[in-house]
């Protein structure tokens, strides 16, 4: 059966299973695992931010870690230098820092006179991440190579939000809202332009689209999401360091998306859950304790090589991922009504 004729839709089913599973998970797991799962949900924000850039807009970025880390450092500074840890301020700070930083990078790399090559943007963002990592590593005001610990808990008024059940649901709700907002964007007419960008960027220019502007907008939106993730991450872990804003975490964002399945918003979330779960379990096996990252690397390499559309690719076709944007059914009804009348 061709993809064209296979009209079965799996994404809504997976969305519901995932949502129900994540809502009910704390009933079946202990507090330690809840904390691990919270971290995964926060990293899900980072993965979605990469996916919006690569899977939907064709921007290969190694800069998502930069926006994630910048926001993390910003909220850590607010916490340590000003004693400010209120959630109603921390979340906007993360979003604003992510937005501003990503807009500056977009302006430098994407909004030039000519459309930039993929490799130019990839290397450009990689350089920014690397430079930022080196900068904070040697800057003692922000903790240097040791990073910054946050000693006060994230708070709402006088209520302290410790890592645990409440933080889990806050992270889950944030991820859900970001997922819905991103889905709204990629399913809109704006999303159709993004789908066109991925397939035939040159053609779009000849239709009158200034593709660079669309890319810069998505990149900035994705930066805001990464910033939001960074702010939550820093408070959840009580720590932010150079490793949380450099090439390492930026590359992990790429792997989450590729492993889970690029081209959909679900793929990166599944990628985070899968990679982090595998890492957690492998690191616990005594026999491979000293070299478990190698085993993880082989697994990742295997999936990315033999299943380029990721785990989600076992169920969801490329056609379903791209979807349709028009309202053909309505017209069919209209024609049917015309015939009946």
């Amino acid at each position: 059966m061709s993809e064209q004729k296979n009209t079965r839709r799996y994404i809504p089913i997976i969305e519901i299973i995932l949502l129900v599973g994540l809502i009910s998970a704390p009933l079946f797991i202990n507090e330690f695992i809840t904390v691990i799962l919270t971290r995964m949900l926060i990293l899900g924000l980072l993965a979605i931010s990469f996916e919006l850039c690569w899977g939907y807009s064709g921007i290969m970025t190694f800069g998502q870690g930069l926006f994630f880390g910048m926001a993390g450092y910003a909220v850590a500074l607010f916490a340590n230098k000003a004693g400010f840890v209120q959630i109603w301020g921390v979340i906007p700070i993360g979003i604003i820092v992510g937005t501003i930083t990503s807009f500056i990078v977009a302006w430098l790399l994407l909004l030039g006179k000519k459309p930039p090559e993929i490799i130019f943007v990839a290397l450009g963002t990689l350089t920014f991440s690397y430079a930022a990592e080196r900068l904070v590593s040697g800057w003692y005001w922000v903790g240097g190579g040791n990073g910054m610990s946050i000693f006060d808990f994230l708070s709402l008024g006088s209520y302290e939000i410790e890592a645990g059940l409440v933080f889990y649901y806050i992270a889950g709700l944030t991820l859900l809202l970001v997922y819905l907002a991103s889905r709204f964007l990629v399913r809109s007419q704006f999303g159709l332009v993004l789908a066109g960008t991925r397939q035939n960027e040159k053609r779009l220019a000849f239709l009158g689209y200034r593709v660079r502007t669309f890319k810069a907008l998505v990149f900035t939106f994705a930066g805001a999401i990464a910033g939001l993730g960074g702010a939550l991450y820093a408070h959840h872990e009580g720590f932010i360091g150079p490793n949380n804003m450099g090439i390492g975490i930026s590359t992990m964002a790429v792997l989450y998306a590729l492993f889970g399945g690029a081209g959909s918003l679900l793929g990166p979330i599944i990628g985070v859950l899968a990679i982090e779960s595998i890492s957690f379990n492998l690191s616990d096996i005594e026999a491979i304790k000293s070299f478990w990252p190698v085993v993880l690397g082989i697994i990742l390499l295997g999936v990315v090589t033999f299943k380029p559309d990721g785990i989600l690719g076992f169920l969801v076709t490329q056609r379903e991922r791209i979807g349709t944007f028009g309202r053909i059914k309505k017209r069919k009804n209209k024609r049917k009504n015309d015939l009946e009348s």
Binding site: L192, A195, N200, R203, F206, L207, Y209, L217, I322, G326
Partner: protein, 244 residues
């Protein structure tokens, strides 16, 4: 007044002079053909008009605007459209979405995010798909269409925008004689609102559809005039009998 004025346009690729002092004038609502042997500069000229590459010399005036060095986006926004020689569509989008993508480019970014125009464009899109015999394939992926239908889809993507000037680079390339005839029939109704500049190898087809022809040879205009004038031109006959 001419819709398109090409004045002394020149274009070099390294040492090769692809266009050399080209002067062409195209009137409003006319069908204008560009013909000539292989390598004569037809496609290069069309691309210089569309903005796929820029002329090194001379000027291109479209609807009173000097567009010589303007971006393809600017030209498209001002009513100039190009159908590429090699079919250029969005293969993983449905036919419907290809057309929607083409026509929605006039909307603001905000209205695209909020999808405001989507419903109001539906009937127009379906009418265009019907006009180009693609209504039954509205949901089919563009990449799954036959070559001829892909060409029609790309033309439909331009026609729905009602451009002032439509540039067609070999619109019947790879088509059967029946498809060529049908393509001509599909294009005729747009004459009321669109000027057409066509590059085509099939001389019989282009003579049937066009009002005027410009013959290029080795990057220069060999002759220019009505179809009848060109048919009688000795210079053109010589080139076509000796080199084509």
């Amino acid at each position: 007044m001419a819709l398109l004025e090409i004045k002394d346009v020149g274009k070099k690729f390294g040492t090769l002079r692809a266009l050399d002092g080209i002067n062409v004038s195209v009137g409003e609502n006319s069908f204008h053909g560009l013909i000539g042997p292989n390598g004569s500069g037809k496609s290069t000229l069309l691309k210089a008009i569309a903005g796929d590459h820029y002329a090194d010399e001379g000027s291109i005036i479209f609807n009173g605007l000097d567009i010589t060095q303007r971006s393809p986006e600017f030209r498209a926004k001002n009513g100039l459209n190009l159908k590429f020689q090699i079919t250029s569509i969005f293969p993983e989008l449905s036919c419907y979405d290809n057309i929607l993508l083409s026509i929605q480019s006039m909307q603001s970014v905000w209205s695209l995010i909020t999808s405001r125009g989507k419903d109001s464009l539906n009937d127009k899109i379906m009418d265009t798909l019907e006009q180009f015999k693609l209504a039954d394939r509205a949901e089919t992926l563009a990449g799954e269409l036959s070559h001829g239908l892909q060409q029609w889809l790309e033309i439909a993507m331009s026609v729905i925008r009602k451009p002032k000037l439509l540039l067609l680079d070999e619109p019947t390339g790879g088509m059967s004689p029946e498809e060529r005839r049908a393509t001509g029939e599909l294009l005729l109704p747009i004459k009321n609102h669109t000027t057409l500049v066509i590059v085509e190898h099939d001389l019989e087809w282009i003579k049937d559809i066009c009002d005027n022809l410009t013959v290029l040879d080795q990057g220069k205009v060999l002759d220019d005039g009505s179809v009848e004038q060109i048919e009688k031109s000795e210079k053109v006959k010589e080139v076509y009998t000796t080199r084509v």
